[in-house]
């Protein structure tokens, strides 16, 4: 074709054309590339990139795909993971998701990923496609997804925009997960003003596979076919690259007209959970029939990501024919096809002899599948369109050798002042105000029942859910003919992390760990989802690096590895960043799910309530300081990971020997919150006797970590407490379960107030329905 400049403007921007028009202006800045990054691309290619190449590099070199600001810090996870910790790890950081061997020939893969910004633009679809994306990540490891979780952070519950954001996001998580047939076994909901303009939607998924059936994303074997299967490719989420079409094409001309006629669309994608459900079953069948060499999900960055990552992880060469990609819209330019974020698509590498079998399985499930290219040994990723070469790059430079930044780091100037401003000066309630405070605390948006949300999620489907809301960790058995189970909990208190990112991140790790051991499971591996502000702010980079060091050092003490994670930066409104929010997920294993520890009291008649762990006066950053005084300052509770470990041993022994009938860990809201939740969940009353020698307010509301409230059958009380004493586990008896009070069910906080459970239930459960409307309407007259 002619590379004559006058026509170049209206024809396909081919490699040849790019070489011939070195000086053509390109909108790389609009695509988010810095000047030096653009120069580096020119260096790599020895010419200017074509539009398609520019689209690929810009999206693959974005913070989201390249981790360019966090990479140098994430390396610390590798440095601190010992071989001992690695022993059960089959895949780690760098793969779609970490995989751990849990014995009996089973392996587990799990991950949490963020979908924050899209969920603010379009709450329902943003959250829905967030779930869809993480499920495909898990599927791409060769695993059957078996459960989902969601970690949600919103602005104040009563803020006007919460009426749009909260119901939309919750129904999006439910709408997608429920239709996929994946039980939702847990998550978090936090309300804080820092999230008002930037809610956090993190979604997690757990998958199980036979340990020897793992797949990875790599394209090896010259001559192997590349198959794109799932939904058609449309204009979803190409908002970004639409600048190309309009800026580069002159207006007339075939491709140009199509592109220019196009409205600028926001980067929203619409999810099709039905298509994903079918994609899951179809993919599991091709795995079972051993029809694939490598596989990759299409998420952000669509085909750009899938093709470059597959190629650079394999033998390094691939030829893709864009004309073979089934499209949903007319006149899509190569750049648009490569950047489309159309959902519910996967890319597989298949040996030629198995292509037919692969396509048959797809046909059975009515899943569109097309061979779009093949693996080569050229070491180049070559993409053609209408017979012309539009991309010719070394794949590693796109996928793995993007820019890496050591951003400036600086402890914020205000940090000392923040830590100096402790809660000591805050007026504390008098003894006779404590009863009201208990009711006020349990009714607060951050402590109230999550039922309004969890009632919109299916927790039963697939019939393997052994523990789910309300519980410290969700538990599913790995299959219906096994008692081997998986426990998972995710946690983070951004207020603690704000006060001290290193300790705060360890407290998040400690709580997730504690939540898992509280169910009788053994913590085995860790994932994280690091939500922070702009990396261009040295203070944010300080929070990030502190948090990463905290997590890694903590994991080393606990002896469990970080197997993967996700980083989401630029979470801020204007110049103000969100609270640093490193969500930590701890995966646990329980050899026999029948011995799981439940959170509700009243199962054995005659139970003693025992508080495990020391209680200190720790109310800085507490929910009490937040709710009653709107105060955030001082230092977070101290973290003691050795104490958490000991707690784990105690609870494991307690559950193995049937010495513990119920348990709930203490976190936000302290002992009062835990006691109320154990009573309401078990629908059984109790008498709470506050430990002597400690101020009742502190006893009830301090948020000291490494504490669990356990119910012990009276017959086991002596044996259990002797075991604690012997192992130097601090314990104190704090009351008894009182199932048969003739006057009804009460939580009797002795010397403070005898509160009817009905009153507590109204307070605890009434808050979210009052703000967001009832989730259940029984009469046909609304």
């Amino acid at each position: 074709m002619s590379a004559d400049l006058s026509t170049a403007a209206i024809v396909l921007d081919t490699v040849e054309n790019a070489a011939a028009t070195p000086d053509q202006q390109q909108p790389y800045r609009e695509l988010g590339l810095k000047d030096d990054e653009y120069l580096r691309i020119k260096e790599i290619l020895g010419r200017r990139p074509t539009e398609a190449e520019l689209a690929m590099y810009s999206v693959m070199w974005s913070e989201h795909c390249s981790y360019k600001s966090s990479k140098v810090h994430l390396a610390y996870f590798g440095e601190t993971t010992t071989d001992e910790m690695r022993s059960r790890m089959l895949a780690g950081i760098g793969e779609n998701a970490g995989v751990v061997d849990i014995g009996d020939g089973w392996a587990v893969t799990f991950k949490v990923e963020s979908h924050n910004h899209p969920s603010y633009v379009e709450p329902y679809q943003g959250a829905a496609t967030g779930v869809g994306g993480i499920v495909r990540d898990i599927l791409a490891m060769g695993a059957r997804p078996v459960a989902v979780m969601d970690q949600l952070r919103f602005g104040p519950a009563d803020a006007p925009d919460s009426q749009r954001v909260v119901p939309g996001i919750v129904s999006g998580v439910g709408g997608y997960g429920n239709s996929l047939g994946l039980p939702n076994i847990g998550g978090e909901v936090v309300f804080d003003s820092s999230y008002a303009g930037n809610p956090l939607v993190n979604a997690g998924c757990i998958g199980v596979l036979r340990a020897d059936d793992m797949y990875t994303a790599h394209a090896s074997g010259t001559g192997n076919k590349v198959i794109l299967y799932g939904s058609r490719t449309g204009l979803d989420g190409i908002g970004g690259v639409s600048v190309l079409a309009s800026d580069t094409f002159s207006g007339d001309g075939s491709a140009g007209a199509g592109s220019n006629a196009r409205r600028k669309l926001p980067s929203v994608q619409v999810g099709d959970p039905f298509a994903e459900k079918v994609l899951i079953e179809c993919t599991l069948e091709v795995f079972a029939k051993d029809l694939v060499v490598g596989i990759q999900d299409l998420g952000g960055a669509g085909l750009s990501c899938a093709t470059s990552e597959l190629a650079s992880a394999g033998d390094g060469g691939m030829h893709i024919v864009l004309d073979a990609v089934p499209l949903r819209a007319e006149h899509m330019s190569p750049a648009e096809i490569l950047s489309s974020e159309s959902q519910e698509r996967m890319c597989a590498v298949v040996t030629p002899d198995k292509v037919e079998g692969f396509l048959e399985v797809c046909a059975k499930w009515e899943v569109q599948a097309d061979v779009i290219g093949e693996v080569t040994d050229t070491g180049r990723l070559i993409i053609t369109h209408h017979g012309e070469v539009v991309v010719d790059v070394p794949p590693r430079t796109v996928a793995h050798e993007g820019p890496v930044y050591r951003r400036p780091i600086e402890r914020p100037a205000g940090q000392d002042a923040l830590q100096a401003n402790t809660s000591a000066s805050l007026p504390r309630p008098s003894q006779d105000e404590l009863g009201d405070l208990v009711l006020r605390m349990v009714a607060s948006p951050n402590l109230c029942s999550r039922a309004w949300i969890t009632d919109q999620y299916d927790r039963y489907v697939r019939g393997n859910t052994v523990l789910s809301q309300p519980a410290d960790a969700g538990i599913v058995r790995v299959s219906e003919d096994s008692f081997l189970g998986l426990a998972m909990s995710t946690d983070c208190n951004g207020r603690y992390t704000m006060l001290d990112p290193y300790t705060g991140a360890q407290l998040a790790l400690a709580e997730a760990y504690r939540n898992v051991i509280t169910t009788g499971a053994t913590p085995t591996a860790v994932t994280d989802c690091l939500n922070f502000g702009s990396p261009e702010d040295p203070a944010v980079m300080w929070q990030l690096s502190q948090a990463i060091h905290g997590i890694a050092d903590g994991c080393a003490i606990l002896g469990i590895p970080v197997t993967g994670g996700n980083v989401s930066l630029y979470n801020q409104t204007g110049a103000t960043a969100i609270l640093p929010t490193p969500v930590i997920g701890v995966l646990g294993v329980i050899d026999d799910v029948r011995r799981r520890i439940i959170p509700g009291i009243g199962h054995d008649d005659g139970e003693t309530l025992i508080l495990l762990g020391e209680t200190y006066d720790e109310l800085d950053g507490s929910e009490w300081a937040n709710l009653v005084h709107g105060h955030l300052g001082g230092l977070p509770p101290r973290v003691d990971l050795e104490a958490e470990r000991l707690l784990g041993e105690i609870l494991l022994a307690g559950s193995r020997d049937g010495m513990v009938s119920a348990a709930h860990d203490l976190s936000e809201g302290g002992l009062a919150q835990a006691a109320v939740e154990m009573c309401l969940t078990g629908e059984t009353g109790a008498r709470l006797v506050l430990p002597p020698g400690i101020d009742p307010f502190v006893a009830l509301f301090s948020e000291t970590s490494a504490r669990v409230l356990v119910a012990v059958p009276r017959t086991e009380e002596l044996r259990f407490t002797e075991m604690c004493t012997m192992r130097r586990q601090p314990w104190v008896k704090v009351g008894v379960v009182d199932a048969d009070d003739p006057e009804g069910q009460f939580l009797d906080v002795q010397g403070i107030r005898r509160i009817p459970l009905a009153e507590l239930r109204k307070a605890w459960q009434g808050t979210l329905p009052a703000i967001f409307g009832p989730s259940v309407v029984g009469s046909s007259e609304l």
């Binding site: 129904s171 459900k277 299916d458 039963y460 629908e683 009832p774 989730s775 309407v777």
Partner: protein
């Protein structure tokens, strides 16, 4: 030979594994049936399980009702084969015209997942004979389009012929202002109904998720599956 109970899988069906497990718990063989296959492979009864067949797009159950396997189910049902539709399966049976009425969007406009109390009203049908009349059972409910509606005349007929299988009732401890007994505004609190001959049954709650206290709130749901086994064995000897 023991009875064989078919469990249909449409694209988007989710609770087929659970229905098959429940069938096995009742001691008989579960036979997978594929939506595109018009052959019922000689099963003695059919369960149309829950889920989101075809994504519940258009209307829950509407597209699945057109599937080849449903033509076979309709013929078999007309000649007396017991058929149970659970949740999405109930919606499919209504859309296919095997049961009267329709299931529409919950009055609260939200998906509802909760443990639901039900009262047994008809304990003579092929699927409910194991329950005592008036028995109160607790089984999971989870759907977004579970509100049963039908013309008044049809409702009267259902009541008159004793074809209401189960009704929604409240729980002792729940705060009814927060958790009403009726989860979705179903007319006359109807949770499930059956055909005039008591062989075709549909209900929104999920008995197959209440077969083992380890994974469900109770094992109250087993009665459905034991009932149909009794029915089939009775039929066989006679």
């Amino acid at each position: 030979m023991t009875a064989r109970v078919g469990v249909i899988t449409f694209p988007g069906t989710l609770d087929d594994v659970d229905a098959a497990r429940a069938v096995r718990y009742s001691g008989v063989e579960a036979v997978p049936l594929w939506h595109a296959d018009a052959d019922l492979h000689g099963v003695d009864a059919v369960v149309v399980p829950g889920g989101f067949s075809y994504g519940d797009y258009l209307r829950a159950g509407a597209i699945a009702a057109q599937a080849p396997v449903m033509r076979a189910v309709i013929d078999a049902a007309k000649s007396g084969m017991p058929v149970l539709g659970i949740c999405n399966g109930f919606q499919v049976l209504c859309e296919a015209g095997l049961l009267p009425g329709a299931l529409v969007r919950n009055a609260g406009l939200k998906f509802v997942c909760r443990d639901q109390w039900l009262r047994a009203e008809n304990t003579t049908s092929a699927w409910t004979s194991r329950y005592e009349s008036g028995a109160e059972i607790l089984i999971p409910l989870k759907n977004a389009e579970g509100r049963y509606v039908a013309p008044e005349a049809v409702l009267d007929e259902l009541e008159g012929e004793g074809r209401v299988l189960f009704r929604y009732i409240g729980s002792a401890t729940a705060d009814t202002t927060l958790a009403p007994a009726n989860p979705n505004g179903a007319q006359r609190d109807i949770a499930g109904i059956c055909s005039a001959d008591g062989r075709i049954a549909g209900l929104m709650p999920h008995p197959e998720h209440a077969i083992d206290p380890l994974t469900g709130p109770t094992d109250d749901g087993l009665g459905f599956f034991f009932s149909v086994v009794d029915f089939l064995e009775g039929v066989k000897v006679s």
